[in-house]
Amino acid sequence: MPELGRAALLIALGLCAYAAVAGTAAALQRRRRLAQSAQNALVAAFAATAVAAAVLVVALLRNDFSFVYVAQTTSRELATGYTLSAFWGGQEGSLLLWLLVLTGYGTLAVRLNRSWIPDLVVWAVPIFAVVAGFFAFLVVGVASPFETQPAPLDGAGMTPSLQNPYMLAHPPLLYLGYVGLTVPWAFAMAALISGHTDERWIVATRRWTLLAWTCLGIGQLLGAHWAYVEVGWGGYFAWDPVENAALMPWLAATAFLHSVMIQEKRGMMKVWNVLLVILAFELSLFGTFLTRSGVVNSIHSFTQSSIGPWFLFMICVTVAASLALVMWRLPLLRSPTRLESPISREAAFLYNNLLLLAICLAVLWGVLYPLVSEAVRGEAIVVGRSYYDFFLRAFGLPLLLLIGIGPLIAWRRASLRSLLTTFRWPTSIAVATGALLLVLGFGDSWAGLLTYSFSAFVLTTVAIEFARGTSARRSLGGGSWPRSFASLLGRNRRRYGGYVVHAAVVLLAIGIAGSSAFDSVAEARLKRGDSMRIEDYTLTYRSLDERQTANATEIRATLGVERDGKDLGSLKAGKNAYSVEQQVSNEVGIRSDRFTLEDLFVIAEQVDPDGTVYFRVFVKPLVNLIWFAGLVFVLGAVIAMWPDAREQRQQALRARELGLPATP
């Protein structure tokens, strides 16, 4: 059924074009039925894209190799789950997924908001349609997933490293994040075009931004775990351009989520917030460009393709249009409120924003520099880990500390006496932690020591905020401690959800510091029966086994593991040789200690015909905190996203009072 897929995409393209033109005409001429028709066109574009997506899914499940895309990304031996994941495993399918998610998000955002902000929705529709139309054009005219050929007997298969359960969730989550950043951008642009730059666009898109940010964050963490268990080099984040591509919009969105609070509380930074929304959206487009254009060499990127110039064109057009709108509406965005003191909550948010942006721009330059260098000087220069590590320490450590400082300072201004009171406990605990760790011999890495000390500061702050807040609620409303705690969370979900996210960031920082600043590595070539030592562990190479699975030959070396003379069982590490794909992958062995949270990580680097194996072994302290941080992050994000009945009542009251349409 490739004809149906092609027709559905062509229809989707036509619908996007109609929604863009009719939506703009309706907004300019204030024509209600035409505006509704444009909205319906966006909904219909989603339906048509869903039909195209269904055609591709059926083709994948039926191993229909007459589809070039199916033949290039799957094989008959591939497990069904991975066959389905081929939908986003290749260039054309992933662009189709982009379009599907974008039209779905656009439809939902428009439907949920059209009754209470019709003046913004009427402009948001053509804006969504333009972006969706761009992706529809790509899958229709440049990179169609419905190209056909005489069917070969079998497909080329899937890259072995992609044959991992994480690939079922990691890319779709990243897409949900990337595409989700279109929603705040579309509504911000709608607010600028309509001249209605009040806070309604922020209220309408707040949860969308949080959802996109959460998906992007979790998607990256799953990607990091995939790299850790599957790629087999001993780490989880390599500052690869495509990894950076997902990190940059997440950093920009993090800055926006913080600075938007200053606008809500003080009516300040309207221009800055719009610029951050534009930056987050453009970086999401740039990330997609990096992954798909073939301009960078990365394990994650797709092959060289012709879509790069189109993406650059789209980025240039949307940047120019967005900035032109900001310049046009600058008088509306200026705020009469000024920063009252450099020592205030809003100032702390501002510093936080500057540091986040500094990291983001440092990463962006690290990605761009090799490309610029190659274009200008003809030689590609690789920006190494030390570059990123330097900026992560220079900006990341102060940022970590600011996570703890911000909540301790009052809005508007704080006196020295207030600061001495609020900083007393967190500072004491941070200093005590640092001193204790120094005594225990953790002084080898000053960055690691500072990370642990700052983390202690932040965790104390979070604990104090919850304890004092609960106590205040109890004294105000009476009742038990758990009830007061629940009331505290319920009355300000975003703030306390945010504190839980802060705790997650601290766990992440501790995990990263522990596993990178205090890790150990040992290498040895072992014959059967030989042993090697690393830290307190002794590893003995016992046997080498080979077995044939549906699509690969698996070779596994078994190692006996002892710690301080105590038998901890065995560990397997080896390689998979994929026959169809003609590729070999490392299959690492990992033993996690649930009490110390450290991992013993074994790579069988080289397996010789005589059974000798060259092993590389790591001990990574606290690395499991990184994955645990993901769970805490999701918990905090869910608390922050959960609908706030009090806020909704206040919005409804305001709308009724002013005779405006009611909030949903």
Binding site: A7, I11, R32, Q36, R266, A414, R417, R468
Partner: protein
């Protein structure tokens, strides 16, 4: 004629109906004008936001004081101006005028 072609035509017809539906449902509407806030309503909305912001700042200050984030002296120094700000915002909304300094742009 293939099944794919029939389905594609059905899809095309379906989307045309969906897109044309507002005109099919209301061929001759009483009014075809979009409902949008008037400039006056827009201005009052921004004043209401100012008022809610001022009231929220007062609540925040009370809470910060209760959780000992600010001292009694700081509380006393800040609560007066904040109350005056909230009162001015309430008055401005009631009177339908802007309390922001003259010459400053709105927003």
């Amino acid at each position: 004629v293939t099944v794919a072609l029939v389905l594609a035509v059905a899809l095309a017809v379906g989307v045309v109906v969906v897109v044309a539906w507002p005109f099919l449902r209301e061929p001759e509407p009483v009014s075809d004008e979009l409902v949008e806030p008037t400039p006056e309503a827009q201005r009052r909305l921004e004043l209401a936001e100012d008022r809610d912001r001022a009231l929220s700042a007062l609540k925040e200050l009370e809470f910060d004081h209760r959780t000992r984030k600010i001292t009694d002296e700081d509380y006393r120094a800040q609560v007066g101006p904040l109350r005056r700000e909230a009162s001015a915002a309430l008055r401005a909304l009631d009177e339908g005028r802007d309390v922001r300094p003259t010459g400053e742009p709105e927003g």
